[in-house]
Amino acid sequence: MTANEPLIRADSVSRHFSLPQGEVLRAVDQVSLDIAAREILGLVGESGSGKTTFGKTLIGLLDKTAGEVWFKGEKLPARYTPKDFARFATRSQMIFQDPYSSLNPRMTVGEIIAEGPRLHDKASRAELKDLVADWLTRVGLHPDHASRYPHEFSGGQRQRIGIARALILEPEFVVCDEPISALDVSVQAQVVNLLGDLKASLGLTLLFIAHDLSMVRYVSDRMGVMYLGTLVELGNADDVFFEPKHPYTELLISANPEPDPKRERLRAHTTITGEIPSATGLGNACPFAGRCPKVMDVCRAERPSLRSVENRLVACHLFE
C-alpha cells in the first residue's frame, strides 16, 4: 500500500435486486468513491437512496452485482465465502441503526461483545473477560454490565454496546449505519463524541451514514450525497453543506431545519415536491429528473456522470 492509496476504493459498485415480473431494482448503481485512511466519510440521502445497501456491499454483507472494492490495494471478492468473512470481518465492522433489534435479547451483554473475538480465536477465555470489561469501560459503561441483558439498557446505552461489539475486533474500517437516529438529542451528542474519541485513539476509518445533515456535516471530513442508488455529489463536508451544487443537495439542505428561529423566519422555503420514486425502470434518464426544479431536456435522455467541478465531484448536466 502506497502513501496515497485510499483504505477503501469502490469502483463502479452496483447492487441490483431482481423483482418478480423480471423487473430490476437498482439499489446501488455504479458508485465509485475512495475513503482515505483515518477519514470520516459521511453519506446522506433520503430513505431508499441506497446508502445502507452501499455500506453493506463495501464490507461484504451483501454481494456485489458488478464493480470492484479494493481494501488497502487488495481486491475484495464479489461474493464472500465463509473463509473470506473469517479473514475480513476482523478488518471491517458495522454499527447498526436500531439498537433494539440489533442485539440478541437472549444473550448477555458480555456474550454479545465477546462473540467476535471468541469466534475469531482472538483471545482465551480469561483474556476475553478482561477484554470485555475493558471495552465496556471504553464505551462509557461499567464492567459489571457484562452479566446483564440488553433489555435492561436505554437506547443510548445499547448503542454503546453495539459500538463495543464492533470495535473489540479492532477493525480498520467501520460502517456506521444511522448510529444516532434512534436516540435523543442529548444522547446523540454523547454517542457522536464517543465515536470521535475512539476514532482518534484507534485510528479508525468510518463511513458515517445518516439522514441528519447537520450531524453529518459536524462529524464528517467529506460528505457524499446519494439519490436512487447513485452518488450525485461528493466533496469536503463544509463545501457541500454551505455551497451545494447539485440541485438535489440544494433541496436537501434547504429542507434541513436549523435550531435558530430568526434564520428560520428569513429562510426561503424551496420545498422539494414529490417523493423518492422506486429505483426500477429508470432507463437512461438522470434519476433526479422527475423532481428536479432545474430539469432540462438532456436530463431525460442521458444520465449525467460524476465529474469534477471546482473542488468536488457532481453528477449533473448543469455543470457540463
Binding site: E46, D184, V185, E258, P261, T271, E275
Partner: protein, 331 residues
C-alpha cells in the same frame, strides 16, 4: 394578552405498574393562545406525550390516573370529560396526529372510509356526503388523485402520504386545536419540510391552534410561537421561541442547544452532550429533577423544588434556583 384558548393548570398524571407508581407528569401548567403554535420540547420519557394525551382522554385509565389539575378550553373544563357543550373533546374540539401513522390507521379499511367514519357517526352526515367530504379533505391535505387514493388501503401509501391522511382525519370535524405528537420524526427531511409547510398553511387558513410535540429544536425554531420545555414530568421553562433560543434561563434548555450542531459558519464547534440520563420517575427527586445532570447545580437544588421565576419579559418563566436573588453568580 387576551385570555388563552386552552389553559392547563397543575396537571399531574400517574401510572400504576408492576414496579410501582410512575409519576409521569408532575404538575404541568401552560397556556395556548388562539391561532398560535405551542411547541412542547423534551427528551423521551419527560412526560410530553402523556401530558397532551390526558387532555383528550387518550391516557388509559387504569393504569393511568389524573391526580390533579385542570384544563380549560374557552373557560370550560375538558379534563376527564368526553363531551363539552355537545361537542366531543377528542375529534371535534381537539384533533390529534401521531408519530407513526401506519399503526394509527386501520389496515383493513379503505382510507376514504376511515376519514368518513367520524363524519357519519359523530356529525350525522349521510354516508355518501361523508365520503365526498373525505375526498375534499384529502385534497386539502395535498394528497394527489384524492378520489382514487380514497379507495386504497394504508399499505399502498408512503409514510409521508399517510401522515397527510392523518391530517385529513384530524381535520375532518374542524377542531379548534390540532395536537401533533412527533408528526415528522419518522420522515425524511424533505418530506418533513412538506408536512410542516402543509400544517402551517392549514393552520393559517383555519385559524387553528397547534400543539406540536417534538424533540427536534430545528422543527421548533421553524414552527413555534411559544415553547414549553419539559424535563422529568415538569415544565422547566416557557417563553416565546426567541426567549427560549436566545435568552434561555434554564441549564437544561441551554444543554439541549449545545448538544446540537449549529450551522452558523464553517467553524468547528464541539458538541457538549448532557451527561447522564433523566431521573427515575418511580421515585422522583424531591428537589429539582435536573439536579444530577446540571453543570450549575447548587446545594439548594438537591432538596428544594425551584419555583417559577419570571424572567422579566412577558410570559418567559423558568423553574431554576439560579434566578433566585440569593443565588451566587460565580460563573
Amino acid at each position: 394578552m387576551t385570555r388563552p384558548l386552552l389553559e392547563v393548570e397543575d396537571l399531574a398524571v400517574e401510572f400504576d405498574t408492576h414496579g410501582g407508581t410512575v409519576k409521569a407528569v408532575r404538575g404541568v401548567s401552560f397556556a395556548l393562545h388562539e391561532g398560535q403554535t405551542l411547541a412542547v420540547v423534551g427528551e423521551s420519557g419527560c412526560g410530553k406525550s402523556v401530558c397532551v394525551q390526558s387532555l383528550v382522554g387518550l391516557v388509559p385509565m387504569p393504569p393511568g390516573r389524573i391526580t390533579s389539575g385542570s384544563a380549560r378550553l374557552d373557560g370550560e373544563q375538558i379534563l376527564g370529560r368526553e363531551t363539552v357543550g355537545g361537542m366531543r373533546v377528542r375529534g371535534q374540539l381537539i384533533g390529534m396526529i401521531f408519530q407513526d401513522p401506519m399503526t394509527s390507521l386501520n389496515p383493513t379499511m379503505r382510507i376514504g372510509d376511515q376519514i368518513a367514519e367520524p363524519l357519519h357517526m359523530h356529525q350525522g352526515m349521510r354516508r355518501r356526503d361523508a365520503r365526498m367530504r373525505a375526498i375534499e379533505l384529502l385534497e386539502l391535505s395535498q394528497v394527489g388523485e384524492a378520489e382514487k387514493r380514497s379507495r386504497q388501503y394504508p399499505f399502498e401509501f408512503s409514510g409521508g402520504m399517510l401522515q397527510r391522511v392523518m391530517i385529513a382525519c384530524a381535520l375532518a370535524c374542524e377542531p379548534r386545536i390540532l395536537i401533533a405528537d412527533e408528526p415528522t420524526t419518522a420522515l425524511d427531511v424533505t418530506i418533513q419540510a412538506q408536512i410542516l409547510s402543509l400544517m402551517r398553511d392549514l393552520q393559517r387558513e383555519r385559524k387553528m391552534s397547534l400543539i406540536l410535540i417534538t424533540h427536534d429544536l430545528g422543527v421548533v425554531a421553524q414552527m413555534a410561537d411559544e415553547v414549553v420545555v419539559m424535563y422529568a414530568g415538569k415544565v422547566v421553562e416557557t417563553g416565546s421561541a426567541d426567549d427560549i433560543f436566545y435568552a434561555s434561563g434554564h441549564p437544561y434548555t441551554q444543554g439541549l442547544k449545545s448538544a446540537m450542531p449549529q450551522n452558523q459558519d464553517r467553524r468547528a464547534q464541539q458538541l457538549e452532550p448532557i451527561a447522564g440520563s433523566p431521573p427515575d420517575l418511580f421515585d422522583p427527586p424531591t428537589g429539582c429533577g435536573y439536579f444530577e445532570r446540571c453543570p450549575r447545580a447548587m446545594q439548594v437544588c438537591e432538596a428544594h423544588q425551584p419555583p417559577d421565576f419570571d424572567l422579566g419579559k412577558v410570559q418567559h418563566r423558568c423553574a431554576c434556583w439560579l434566578h433566585d436573588a440569593r443565588a451566587t453568580h460565580d460563573s
